[in-house]
Symmetry: C2
Subunit: 338 residues, 2 copies
């Protein structure tokens, strides 16, 4: 029997947490073996705040990569302390994006921005330098399921005030956010994760409590998930893949005060293929994972190809013995060949 195959341009992951030190060493292969490039989030401990942090962090990542084939795209975190000069030097050092977390909305966001308006000079400099602004789009203090909705006003304000600033609303989680991104100019795009295309809130708290499905923004209603799927498969270049893969060791997930984040790097691409296949949209899969994002960031398309095979398997229960990957123990229809 012939195994169905899908060969396509090597993909990018435009939102990943690689951590540092020993964790980086453990989790990097899951990303680097599949993706040609990944936009590396800056919320390490301590965070990546400027050019020199980013240069050091890039060296650390490249040092773990072994022989070529993977390019980390570096970011800095935009905090209350960021100034236009920070942006200028970071941009000159090759940093492609600045990530803004409102204070306290997710893992390691305690030093997040408290007042977006106070950062308008920074955003102006990002616009001039051609640095992308990546947003964790949740408004702190609001009811947990409405935080993304409350943030959309700020997104519209930014897009209006900085018409040439490229803005990415990260990890979309709601129908309302999809509609807002669609209505804004082409300078505003959005990433969508694999897990937000699969999970709803029922998969976190609807049955027994599932800490390995717990993430921010929270997965929401079936209607929200349907809107995200529709956006992902639409072929609209505003929507592209960012895994938000966020590894946490088991004791920090299965505890009295559990960390938010889904470690999806080991399974995201096969899971996505399954979603696109289910929607009869495999012809638009390559654009979502290997096309739109690169174009939005002004990067050349990746060289080389990757092949997925339709050979159903069950997701591994553990990764490096210390992490539970997304879809652990669950059926996955596709796998990366080779």
């Amino acid at each position: 029997m012939n195994v169905p195959k899908l060969t396509m341009r090597r993909p990018d992951d435009f939102h990943v947490h690689l951590r540092d030190g020993w964790t980086l060493k453990q989790v990097l292969p899951a990303t680097a073996e599949v993706f040609a490039r990944a936009l590396v989030m800056p919320n390490t401990t301590p965070p990546i705040l400027n050019a020199s942090d980013a240069i050091r962090y890039r060296s650390e990542i490249l040092g773990e990569c072994g022989k070529g084939g993977f390019t980390p795209l570096m970011t800095i975190q935009i905090t209350d302390a960021t100034v236009p000069e920070t942006v200028r030097t970071a941009s000159q050092a090759g940093v492609v994006a600045g990530k803004l977390y409102p204070v306290g909305v997710t893992t390691n966001s305690e030093n997040g921005a408290t007042d977006i308006k106070a950062l308008y000079q920074v955003f102006g400099e990002m616009e001039r330098a051609g640095m992308v602004l990546c947003l964790h789009g949740e408004e702190p203090g609001e009811f947990c399921l409405e935080r993304e909705s409350y943030f959309l006003d700020a997104l519209e304000g930014l897009a209006g005030s900085f018409p040439r600033l490229r803005i990415v609303l990260e990890h979309l989680s709601s129908e309302e956010a999809v509609e807002t991104v669609l209505a804004l100019p082409e300078t505003v795009a959005a990433t969508i994760t694999a897990h937000h295309l699969v999970l709803t809130l029922d998969d976190v708290i609807g049955g027994k409590l599932q800490p390995h499905h717990f993430c921010k923004p929270l997965p929401k209603t079936p209607a929200d998930r349907a809107a995200l799927i529709e956006a992902a498969i639409s072929g609209n270049p505003k929507f592209f893949f960012g895994s938000d893969s966020a590894p946490h060791r088991i004791p920090t997930k299965e505890c009295a005060d559990g960390a938010a984040g889904v470690f999806s790097a080991p399974t995201a691409l096969p899971v996505l293929a399954g979603v696109f296949e289910h929607e009869d949209a495999l012809d638009r899969f390559e654009a979502f994972v290997s096309g739109h994002g690169a174009r939005f960031y002004g990067l050349s398309p990746n060289e080389g190809a990757i092949t997925l095979e339709r050979r159903p398997w069950k997701g591994r229960l553990r990764y490096c013995g210390e992490y539970v990957p997304f879809m652990a123990g669950k059926p996955i229809d596709w796998r990366v060949a080779g």
Copy 2:
């Protein structure tokens, strides 16, 4: 300085999980030292399904109580296998209520009822026998935050079909359910827990993941909580206290597949006093915990008194070393004297 005191008739808990065996031995004192009576839920493993189960279970509980002062009010679980004769003999054996769980909605409800209409002869017999019908009012299969809402049609159907059957909608969690209970005849009442008066969904998944706040029905929005507080302090005899205290050992809460339930027995009464005080409604506190429920169940008021003192403390982190009580480590303004 004088410590403010609150002396009142001994209270009842009209919804508690006491478990059995070693767990019963551990958790019973938390209930029996404070409450004169408690309606004991039947979803033990195996469950309490008939008169002989209930007689045996009551003996086990009384055997652990030591010298008097606590009366367990027994229930049986209404399942697809329950027949009118089950109700008749249980009622004759002193069982005061039948508890119906729709299949799969919460802990140990795998054997729950699959078709409420198929049980109408059973409900007819409960009506004749004067046995109260206690409902876990959630519709399985619906989106997790809407299950209570979807169940309300069934509640209205039952109230309409059995006009003399006393029905208790357990552990109210939404504004809509409060309104539905208010609109139904006086044969329909509802219990409210301490934790649903304190928590919203933000306290479960809004920050880091809090498995010890995870329960069914899920705590919902701030508006839902406000409606529950309003109902509890209203003085309306339709609303009375049922803790739904549900002990689970720490490894079954802090794990990859966490059990639902808040172990509130050790702190519920002081926490409730704080809620009523905050709402300037301490004059209606005794009715909520020591009056309305007994009257609805046709029981005489408890003898004896209990005293609460306003001496702020922090909730204990552990109970018997194996359970995390509600409000562990959090400030509690009142305590039971003695």
